[in-house]
Symmetry: C3
Subunit: 651 residues, 3 copies
């Protein structure tokens, strides 16, 4: 499918006599895909068993007549109020032991099997009723799993499920006691039904207790999704089943959920995401109206992998939103830039959220392509421009495969959250810092899962902070002949959250003769300068072994060491150090680089290089050797501008 723009639409929010003109205008804009239905359960089934699907079919008829493809969302993120009468215990319980109530959304417990069956029931009903509709283009399962902290529930249902999961995993209680190290504080269990959830304890629980609960909880999300996927695929194997992930919600493993998805999508709200990020205050000011210039790109590359190569933006920020502490208006042009950037990274569809700003309810301050008074909002015109430019350039194909890869691992997100040791050190922040350093030179990057079996075709692979080796990664590195960069903490734990017998990074001596003998963690604000530039911060390791020192800090502690083409970084660094490390690897690997102005980023797709300027001022691009004609914009790229240039050879 050629890249296309889409939109999220809620026919149930508007008078039925507006639908025709809405659909006609969508077609005018150049929209190809419309997502509907994901919050409509109470309109589809106002009381238990009273099914009212006609209006939705009529809405699909209207949209289909304009040539629009409809993605139908299963409405399971918003069970109606009567569902709570049927299943009062389907409401999740938070870590403080409080049952969360009805009145917003995502009010269900992934562990509640009764609700899981209700979710199957409504999915089956929708599948039966809509699978053959000619406008149907695919399905979305639920909406934003995990949003609002809903992955974890500390309910009786979760407790039952967790105990069973543990019994399945460990077989005997003795095996669990052994694996968990319960001997430590007399925490031995006699029976599985003595194990509690890891909340409300006097002080911290066993790290593996906490990690196993996170694994269990993640598995429930995957199981919940599979139920819907199996039903939807059975009826229409040809149509994609999609979920719209939220990038900041890493409490469950998105790779695992995507085992039962055809396409990954994510909901991109760059400005609020920068506001809640760990980025320094000056970055937050500089990109207040644009979002972080590397964050959306990282997630584009990430969800391309999650989606086995196929991915969408299901919700694209179109203007100010409602949910951050402050909700600034994006720079004019950003709604276009964000879409172009997504397409550059291989998106099939970028779907704006939403067609029209709702004048009521929780999100009434969230902009759309139209204002609440039905007039077009600025993003309306930007979306139209994108559609026209896509058509004009004829861009297609897939994102060029990067020759640099980074491993991003959800279990490491959890593990370093369970055991920070250095407050402020976060797995994701650390991985993205390295990503940004590589991207600075215009290099395309791939994100890899910890189940990657081979690194063939990469010049550089980085494993920035992996908590424990998987068999797959061990095999991949042993076969790899490119440059391998291991970050601090990598391989420092077993899957049971203990030290490996030979200590981290736990690799065979012939690969890397190195032991991390001690960790020196530092409070924010304390930095140890590295000779030659940059500083170590938050996390420092002291090592022993035969690897060669490449960089060391002013105290003489090795910071980057190597053995052949394997490099090990012992510290988390400031921006300058991360850049030096990336630059060193790029130079070692002899990779050609681009010279790109500050604030500008680029990506190659289908024989085009797409430049986007996240900066608030115009910049001048230098034409690279492989670039021929500008097909959108030019060398002079304004703030929030996009320049597309044709390459001499397809990328």
């Amino acid at each position: 499918m050629n890249p296309a723009i889409g939109v999220c639409y809620y026919p149930e929010h508007w008078p039925e006599d507006w639908w025709e003109s809405d659909a006609a205008r969508m077609a005018e804009v150049g929209i190809k895909v419309v997502r509907i239905g994901e919050f409509a359960w109470s309109k589809l089934e106002p009381t238990p068993g009273d099914l009212q699907l006609d209006w939705m079919i009529r809405a699909m008829d209207v949209l289909g007549r304009q040539g629009l493809q409809v993605i139908v969302g299963t409405p399971t993120a918003t069970p109606p109020r009567w569902m709570i009468d049927k299943h009062p215990d389907m409401l999740a319980v938070d870590a403080q032991g409080r049952r969360k109530g009805f009145g917003s959304r995502r009010h269900y417990d992934f562990s509640h099997l009764g609700y899981r069956e209700e979710s199957a029931r409504i999915t089956r009903i929708l599948s039966d009723a809509l699978s053959d509709h000619p406008a149907l283009g695919g399905w979305q399962t639920d909406n934003e799993y995990g949003c609002h902290g809903t992955t974890y529930s500390y309910s009786p249902a979760a407790l039952d499920g967790f105990r069973l999961w543990l019994e399945n995993k460990y077989g005997t209680i003795a095996a669990l006691n052994q694996a968990w190290g319960t001997v430590f504080w007399s925490m031995d269990y006699n029976r599985f039904d003595q194990i509690e959830l890891p909340n409300l304890t006097v002080t911290e629980v066993l790290p593996i207790h906490d990690l196993d609960f996170r694994r269990y909880s993640s598995d429930q999300v995957a199981a919940f999704n599979k139920v819907q996927y199996d039903i939807l695929k059975a009826a229409r194997p040809d149509l994609p089943v999609i979920h719209n992930f939220m990038s900041r919600y890493t409490e469950f493993d998105h790779y695992d959920v995507a085992e039962t998805l055809d396409v990954a999508s994510w909901d991109s709200y760059p400005i609020g995401h920068l506001a809640v990020s760990d980025e320094p205050e000056e970055t937050k000011r500089a990109y207040l109206r644009q979002g972080d210039p590397d964050n959306a790109a990282f997630h584009h590359d990430h969800y391309r992998t999650v989606g086995h190569g196929r991915w969408w933006i299901m919700e694209q920020q179109p203007g100010p939103v409602n949910w951050a502490q402050a909700n600034p208006d994006p720079l004019p042009g950003m709604a276009r830039l964000w879409a172009w950037e997504a397409f550059a990274h291989g998106a099939e569809v970028v779907s704006y959220f939403r067609w029209r700003q709702a004048p009521f309810a929780q999100e009434q301050m969230h902009a759309g392509l139209h204002r609440p008074d039905r007039e077009p909002a600025p993003a309306y015109f930007e979306a139209k421009q994108v559609a026209e430019e896509l058509a004009a350039t004829g861009i297609g194909g897939t994102a060029a495969k990067g020759r640099i890869a980074l491993v991003f691992d959800y279990q490491s997100e959890w593990a370093w959250d369970v055991q920070p040791q250095a407050a402020g050190f976060k797995h994701g922040t650390h991985v993205r810092a390295l990503y940004a350093a590589f991207r600075k030179h215009g290099l395309d990057v791939e994100i890899l899962s910890p189940k990657t079996k081979t690194f063939d075709g990469f010049d550089i692979v980085a494993i920035p902070g992996l908590f424990a080796w998987t068999d797959e990664l061990r095999e991949a590195i042993s076969d790899f002949d490119g440059h391998l960069l291991l970050g601090p903490r990598t391989g420092s734990k077993t899957q049971n959250f203990s030290f490996p017998a030979r200590l981290g990074p736990d690799l065979p001596q012939n690969l890397l003769d190195l032991k991390v003998s001690r960790v020196d963690s530092l409070p924010p604000g304390i930095e140890v300068p590295v000779k030659g530039g940059g500083s170590a911060r938050l996390w420092r390791e002291k090592i022993e072994g035969g690897a060669e020192v490449v960089m060391e800090d002013v105290e003489g502690v090795p910071v980057l060491v190597s053995q052949g083409k394997v490099f090990y970084l012992t510290a988390s660094g400031d921006r300058a150090l991360m850049q030096r490390v990336a630059d060193y690897l790029i130079a070692e690997a002899n990779m050609p680089v681009l010279t790109i102005p500050a604030g500008v980023r680029c990506r190659v797709r289908g024989g085009f290089r797409i430049y986007v300027n996240y900066g608030a001022t115009a910049q001048m691009l230098t034409k690279a050797d492989d670039e021929t004609a500008y097909v959108v914009g030019g060398a002079d790229i304004p703030a929030a501008g996009v320049t597309v240039v044709k390459l001499a050879t397809a990328g």
Copy 2:
């Protein structure tokens, strides 16, 4: 009644043989009014039904013999412990679902009808026993409604009451679903008894759900007060019924409660109030020992309106208090200054809290007119001086009516708390910023309720941030021929917390041809300079329509626009911008102004202008054209000083 000073006295705290000398000394000081009894329930009724009112009658006898008028407080803010045995469910439940316990004060739920009946019972008992006492000068209902966050309770009693209130308001569940916009996330209800309180949901509830709960809760406070008022007025229609409000507790509508009051009073603790305010750090330092120079004045003007023209200070800070994080000693003279300032704004009585510092219990570190060792504290002498000065000047009459008015609206307090959109933007802070800007020039200001029907007699009326129009205000503005200033957000919502069809400010085009097309909210610290001076911050609106641009910011976004004598301010501003806007309006309205030194404020009452110096250094006053002789102080006004000057014509 001529202005008089009063005091709060607790005969039950002291040996009965101290009462005579205490009363005699009160008379010596010049005190006219004594409030007693509001925490004495356990002494009046030690066990259920065992009434012990004799001591209180004896105390009133003693006070009466010294010519003191006694205000008796109903003791319903402190039900005795045995009451909890009778009504265990009368204790309120907080938003986290925790039942609050006995052991301090205000331990009751406004929704609990059993306790409301107990409150009627004890009020009836006091009324029966004391109504004919010759020393009785009036009543106080309860004490500081809402203090310690007691307006809201999330109890079963509140849930029942809320559902009934909703049914009364909406009639049918379909009407509620429609008004609330429940369609948004499948939040439709089938029955009223499915509706929950708006706490402990997964993410935010419908804004109107939250707002309606606040309206319901406010109504319970008014209903609670009405029960006492009706009983007390039935016995002695001639005596005033008063409540002592807390200015910072805006969770209920003080105007509504005052529908069943004769006099409004408030409890003024300027130093702690500055500490917990949004004022910048430099203001907090500069006025550490004085309080904000505009805050008490604002509330004086406000409660004058709440009290239908009649108002008191029921509790006046006399020295350091006990409840703030830090409790600095006021500058010498402040206990006098605060009283004079209150009288200047029309107070009938300023009652110091309290006669003697208690050596025991929660408030033992709260100063009084005497120390715990019975010696006079500094405020003793300041109070005496005020009484002498009042007598000497013979000041009387009412506060001069200001020609500038500001609308202050409790529903807007709630609405912008429910939907901040820009963290840090607060309705009250925004209103008071404008108040301070007008006051800077010595202009007297009136505060208006949103039920004001006419603006007759005002040169300037400002509606700084009204969430939704009332019929009354719509009528008032359509008839007004003075200068009208509307602030950002004004009229941006309907009473059902939705966008009005024509968007905010939702006025007829002939009055103001303006639509707010977009909101740009900014984090604290980001400012957009306005051409000519000052900056927009936190809240910016982008507008369309035919109004003329008066001020614009450096990005060319209109900041102040006008159509005839109607002005619209699109942003919240820093102090400089708010001052420029006020100055512009004053100039447009051709109002004469005074020149007043920094830190000094003034107000006109009964033919006198009273100057107070909040600053920490002396200042020199310039005699205005309408001023004749200084009757207290002079042109050279010291730190914490008061100057009273006679005007050529009565104000």
Copy 3:
């Protein structure tokens, strides 16, 4: 017993065939004492009544054969999971009303009498089985009472106990009402069973209500300890019973618990303790890898008093720990320095925690003398060096008795926490500031309990912030003819948490003619300079009476006053002011002082003066008149260095 080093060892964590070599290596290092068993209950009694003590006896056999003395810890801090099946209500309830769960440690309620009996039972079992073991050197009761905030429980068991305790204390409810001042807000009780725990009230409870609950809770800890002590002493009166206190956990009275201990010990983790302290940011940076140079010393001196002269370090930090926000690596040498400093202050044993870093469970990132891979860690060599140096110097005897004493009082910790009045003012911080000022000149200091009956032998005694006089201290000061320094707040309350009739400091006029007439509390960052240097901050008192002014601030408020040899300090001060006050007293008392470089501290024991350099750079010592030969190190003391010098006369 000559000073010796020890270690904490967990045979149950390691294969039994490692025990022999571990024990042999301990002997090689020079270790004399090994603590075991305190978390081993589930291995000693895997199911109820199934006692498995053999392994522990075998471990003691192995250790004993190497000449090691074994301290056996009762395992009551970690009851096994099956205990919760027996006593589900033994789990404590936090102040938010949440029952805390099993899964970590210290999961018991001191008020639960059923668990207290279980604790007696296992203690009796251990005593019966091990009392005659030849390797047994003593007992440790439980582990770190109060750690993780476990002193207070808001459970039904605590409520029952508290009511009974109150009835025992007050006799009649009328007496309690009188003592508590319940009249204040109608808080009178009719019966003891109406009194609630002081949590979850609407606003603050009566200060004495809160304080009595803290006293009650403290008493439960002492009662819990006494049960074990009585059992252990009955069997082996000759062996010491020890508890390992945590210095930061002052919620219970360590003096009271030590009434049933032979030796006090404490667990010293200097680096994390500095991180969580109130010290300014620059101190935290300067001593990031050393800990505060006065904090460990203060606690050494304190626990010497708690232990009636006998004290140990039961757990000594050996490297980075796991529980702080950041866990920096100590400077090389600190594991030696800390031990030497403890010995200098009179420690009998310094026991490193732990022999080997555990590769699993909650503390896997906590360093030991060995790494998880069994290799020695840096502290291994430092511990060995200490053992050798102890032997070589032959240091022994007791710590020299200081001629300066400070009163440290747990009730004052609680009282000023109950009633801060100035947020940021903390009793402990204030006492330690004065301690550091005296120590700056190399003076040895003693810490005294509030039950001290005489100050004989001291030149200077300071009572820095005592909330209420005890009979003992009143007697001690009346007999004292040295220099007495009273700090702000001292004597400002009665034991019932009221003002004394003559106000604070509540001393006879002939001793000190002074009344605190007013308190001026200040927010952090506001300072009032004192003439001559230093500033008052947080707490200022205004006084009256005849004492002579020694120092006053720029506002003319007296800061230090005197009457004969009694001094009163009216304010809490910054470092400079506290130093001036200490210097003034030292000069008045004509005490000889040492000149010591910045970062260096010293203490005298057994005829030696031990210098330790907490600084990060080397310093040069000046040999004092009484010093002869250096026996460890020399005048040039490196960072983290230790110098021991022989004195001309034994100290």
